[in-house]
């Protein structure tokens, strides 16, 4: 729950005769993450025949898909159990050759007829705009003094063509406006023939090319073209009917053939990455430990002689080679997405999803505390999640529900509902609603101080999680002397006492810092000790890890050490004060509501309520988004950075079923 799923490394030795059944068992459930055997140093004996097979299946699959496409058939996904064994390439070729033979000729005729009709339609488009010109089209090209080009060209190139002909006398008409293929007519003196021709060619003006039998005036040619289009349409109709018939006849056979070839291709791809010995294959990969028992049973059922060696991998090992499968829980998905945007947890690392599941909505709610707007956000989130409303927000629908819930809780604590607070609630809504805890607008400094307190708690917790991670990984150098190690925590506590003495008894002074200052500890002595510890962290780490030289850079080491201390202190201050924003946004929320009220006026007229409604929509959308970014920022910069490293490898199991792959 708090870590990525426990993984077991599995090594299989498969007799050649059971290769296919075992591969099917491995791929069937989507639990086996294959490791390419090439990385293990297992070389194949000679060229890998399965790579070639995979390429052949791939080519065959494309042929089947092309035939199905010609017949207007959609591929129908089936389940993995519908697959028996890798299909024989020869037999599959024979089947597709036979069907293709029947389909290809009709398909090609249809394609040619469609092309012919497309061409005729294009000619008609070009000739129609000049149908009232009573001149033989052939005569235009034979004119002694005039050079003309009628044709189509890219719309975007038209102005460029005119620019390029700025120094040549010419006339340029757009006969038919079209965003894709406008019909144009370029005329100029025959003496400038070469310039006009070069310009037209380089502007991609494609001249109208009429078949030889299409002679006469534009109107006569247009009539002939229309007639030819009609004939072509009838031919297309007939050919399509033939294809439909063929499609009905071969649908079942093609669907089965496609599925068998498709799955054979996927399996051949997987086998190509197995290590091949003389009579056996070696397969190495990872399985979530919870799935191991079921997978082992399936493998043994598939091959009696299979050798299975399993090596459970303890989570204390932080290995970049172990794939990381996160807990598959739909309620956690939006939080997991937030985390994986930052980084995928390493195998031995604490998965921060559960912690962020709490801290993210709580910090969000604290900044956006409003009962009404929170409930509205929950509603929008739920509808978006179910794809009923605002479908674009579907991926963060659940996150909106969580954040909305805590916004409502804090709204109740702050006594705020749709921006109405204090006497406004009684005055305009007609009921009494007092804050259960604090009103941020009326108690600004207290809420800011409390926000810092909350930040200190979260930061200390993050430091402790970092210690936990280092201890599990037995990384003692970082446990004691890391940037978030024991010495750094000691210095942070001392730093809090200094902060307390600076802020004194001001309302913003964090109470937790004051409480720490009151502990019966000699902070006056501890502070310089921990400060020196932070300064010399690098040196101590070198000692613990046995790195030499201990002092790299001589005198510069001490300059750098001092800068490390300075930077450490500054970042502790900024990290702590960064949480002030939680209180500041709670205040800003109240302030923004007050601004809406001052715009709305005091009389509860229709205008007043319209302003309030628009203001609420604005606050929920605009401030909601800004608070979301602030919450994300707090997590990415102040919280996760303390203990979470990421860098884990994604768990990508073998799958037969494409629908599983997409899922």
């Amino acid at each position: 729950m708090f870590f990525p799923r426990e993984m077991t490394e599995v090594e299989l030795i498969i007799p050649s005769k059971d290769l296919v059944t075992v591969t099917k068992a491995l791929s069937g459930r989507g639990v086996f993450h294959q490791v390419d055997s090439a990385y293990l140093g297992i070389e194949s004996l000679g060229p890998n025949a399965w790579q070639e097979k995979a390429a052949n299946y791939s080519a065959l699959e494309r042929r089947i898909q092309a035939t199905m496409h010609t017949l207007g058939l959609e591929e129908q996904q089936r389940s993995a159990s519908d697959f028996d064994t890798i299909i024989d390439l020869g037999a599959a070729h024979a089947d597709i050759d036979r069907i293709e033979g029947e389909v290809k000729e009709v398909g090609e005729r249809l394609l040619a007829e469609k092309k012919r009709m497309e061409l005729l339609e294009s000619q008609l488009r070009q000739i129609e705009p000049i149908s009232d010109v009573n001149v033989e089209v052939g005569a235009l090209s034979k004119s002694e003094h005039l050079y003309s080009i009628l044709g189509v060209m890219p719309a975007a190139q038209m102005s460029r063509l005119e620019t390029s002909l700025a120094r040549v006398p010419h006339v340029f008409f757009t006969l038919k406006e079209d965003s894709q293929k406008p019909v144009v007519w370029l005329l100029g003196p025959r003496s400038a023939y070469d310039v006009l021709d070069r310009a037209a060619k380089s502007a991609y003006l494609n001249p109208l090319a009429l078949p030889e039998e299409f002679i006469g005036t534009p109107e006569e040619i247009a009539a002939k073209t229309r007639k030819a289009i009609e004939t072509s349409k009838q031919a297309i109709f007939g050919l399509e009917a033939q294809l439909k018939k063929l499609g009905d006849a071969h649908n079942a056979e093609l669907q089965k053939l496609w599925w068998d070839v498709h799955v054979s291709r996927l399996m051949a791809d997987a086998i190509a990455r197995f290590g091949q010995l003389r009579h056996t294959y070696v397969v190495v990969g990872w399985v979530p430990t919870a799935e191991l028992q079921a997978l082992t049973e399936r493998l043994k059922a598939a091959s009696k002689e299979i050798l299975i060696e399993t090596m459970p991998t303890e989570r204390t090992v932080h290995s970049a080679n172990v794939p990381v499968a996160l807990t598959n829980n739909k309620w956690l998905k939006p939080i997991q997405e937030l985390i994986t945007t930052y980084g995928r947890p390493g195998y031995g690392e604490l998965d921060p999803t559960f912690m962020v599941m709490l801290t993210f909505p709580i910090l969000y709610g604290a900044m956006f505390g409003d009962l009404g707007q929170g409930l509205l956000m929950m509603l929008v989130g739920a509808l978006a999640h179910k794809r009923i409303f605002m479908k674009g927000l579907q991926s963060i629908g659940l996150l909106l529900v969580y954040c909305g819930f805590f916004a409502s809780v804090f709204g109740t604590l702050y006594g705020s509902i749709f921006g109405f607070e204090g006497h406004h609630i009684q005055e305009y809504l007609g009921f009494h609603f007092e804050p259960l805890w604090i009103s941020p607008v009326n108690d600004i400094l207290t809420i800011l101080g409390l926000a810092i307190d909350a930040g200190i708690v979260i930061l200390l917790f993050s430091y402790l999680l970092s210690l936990f991670n280092a201890a599990r990984a037995k990384d003692w150098a970082h446990f004691w002397f890391g940037h978030t190690g024991v010495v750094a925590i000691g210095f942070y506590l001392c730093f809090l006492t200094i902060l307390n003495s600076l802020l004194g008894s001001t309302p913003i002074a964090p109470k937790l810092a004051a409480a720490i200052s009151r502990l019966p500890l000699p902070f006056g002595i501890l502070t310089p000790i921990f400060a020196i510890g932070v300064m010399l962290n690098g040196l101590f780490r070198n000692i613990v890890e046995g790195h030499r030289p201990l002092l790299d850079g001589g005198a510069m080491f001490f300059v750098q050490a001092f800068m490390d201390l300075f930077e450490g202190a500054i970042s502790m201050l900024s990290n702590t004060l960064s949480f002030v924003r939680v209180g500041a946004f709670a205040v800003a929320h109240g302030g923004l509501s007050l601004a809406i009220f001052s715009l709305a006026g005091t009389e509860p007229t229709i205008g007043f309520w319209i302003t309030i409604i628009i203001g609420n929509i604005f606050i929920t959308g605009f401030e909601g988004l800004i608070v979301y970014i602030q919450t994300m920022r707090l997590h990415y910069y102040e919280i996760l950075g303390k203990f979470f490293h990421g860098g884990g490898m994604r768990f990508e199991p073998l799958r037969l079923n494409p629908s599983q792959e997409e899922a």
Binding site: A156, R160, A199, N206
Partner: protein
């Protein structure tokens, strides 16, 4: 949709962090001091490219594969920046990313044209081509393998239906059929790509638009000037062709400048006026075979400065991710130059003149 501070808070923080991981001119200099290819790879393994290069065994790391692995990092960077960008900025960033898809498309078309003449018949064309394609992953809409296997440019173009390239290529196809030369297709694709990129930049509003037109405009300046120079010097194209094969947009180089060069004005004087800090443009243009690549390097350095300037001041606009992505691409161009130099007989002097970062202070 969210823009400004709210829209760019996360992406600008992430981009700034990634920006600090870009190689410095000093890093590039250090890498260039590697005596050979294997020591260059060892040195690169200690950079941000390390995990990508370590994914292959040392004996599998040929120069071409090393370049592919390095490009994978850029692909991952693009994927992550696109994902984090606010909605209004995504079309522009996706279109910028499409420049690599455009490169793949050109490579595929070239492979179809040249496959019968020069390539090893024992190796399937696709196996040869895929090694040089940018590793897009699921972002690409290009049916590259099917195109290569289709065997002819016309059939390959048929497969582009429904892609953003369909329209531009369909106009150029007739010229390809007549001339049997990919030049008109490639120019049409380039013009269409850059026109779309500029349109996306102009669709933005306020600060986004200002930043985007500056950065994209700088790239267009470079393209327009280099296209004009190359078409004029190498292809001997006429004024009207030069105008039709360039675009009337840019940041510093205006259409009047391009038209002036096309009409026969002194190109060196025009370029020197646009980029006064580039020295000896006239000398570079006198020996175009060596001078034009050097001029391109100089203009790219101007682009780098333009991109670096985006990181100064208000960070909440599309300029940051755009500039970062372009800088990442230019960094990879440096690394490719290094890999090619260290795996062949290119002299240090030649290498240093091709590197973009070494001559800059930052």
């Amino acid at each position: 949709m969210a823009g400004g501070v709210s829209g760019y808070a996360a992406i600008s923080a992430k981009v700034r962090a990634m920006y600090s991981n870009l190689l410095t001119p000093q890093d590039i200099s250090r890498l260039s001091e590697s005596p050979d290819f294997s020591s260059l790879i060892s040195a690169l393994k200690h950079t941000q490219y390390g995990p990508y290069l370590s994914a292959l065994k040392d004996n599998e790391l040929t120069p071409r594969r090393a370049v592919q692995q390095i490009k994978r990092r850029l692909a991952d960077t693009y994927a992550s920046v696109v994902q984090m960008s606010p909605t209004q900025a995504r079309p522009l960033i996706r279109q910028l990313y499409r420049s690599f898809e455009l490169g793949n498309l050109k490579a595929v078309l070239r492979s179809i044209v040249t496959v019968s003449s020069s390539w090893n018949a024992d190796e399937a064309p696709w196996d040869r081509v895929r090694e040089v394609l940018f590793p897009f992953g699921s972002f690409s809409t290009l049916p590259a393998q099917a195109m290569v296997e289709s065997g002819s440019v016309a059939s390959a173009v048929e497969l582009l239906k429904g892609t953003p390239y369909e329209s531009a290529i369909s106009f150029a196809l007739r010229r390809f059929s007549a001339e049997q030369n990919l030049f008109p297709i490639e120019v049409a694709l380039d013009l269409d790509y850059w026109r779309r990129l500029w349109t996306e930049a102009r669709k933005l509003k306020g600060l986004d638009r200002e930043a985007a037109t500056k950065i994209i405009g700088s790239l267009l300046d470079m393209n327009n000037l280099m296209w004009t120079a190359r078409y004029k010097i190498y292809h001997k194209l006429s004024e009207e062709e030069l105008i039709n094969y360039t675009l009337p947009f840019g940041f510093r180089a205006h259409d009047d400048d391009i038209r002036a060069i096309a009409a026969g004005a002194d190109a060196a004087a025009v370029i020197s006026r646009i980029f006064p800090t580039i020295p000896d443009v006239a000398a570079l243009l006198e020996k175009p075979h060596t001078g034009l690549p050097k001029l391109e390097v100089q203009i790219k350095r101007q682009v780098i400065q333009q991109c670096a300037a985006a990181f100064i001041g208000n960070p909440f606009h599309v300029g940051l991710p755009l500039a970062f992505l372009i800088l990442s691409d230019l960094e990879i161009q440096d690394l490719i130059a290094l890999i090619e130099a260290k795996s062949s007989d290119i002299s240090d002097e030649e290498l240093h003149s091709a590197l973009l970062k070494t001559a800059l202070q930052n």
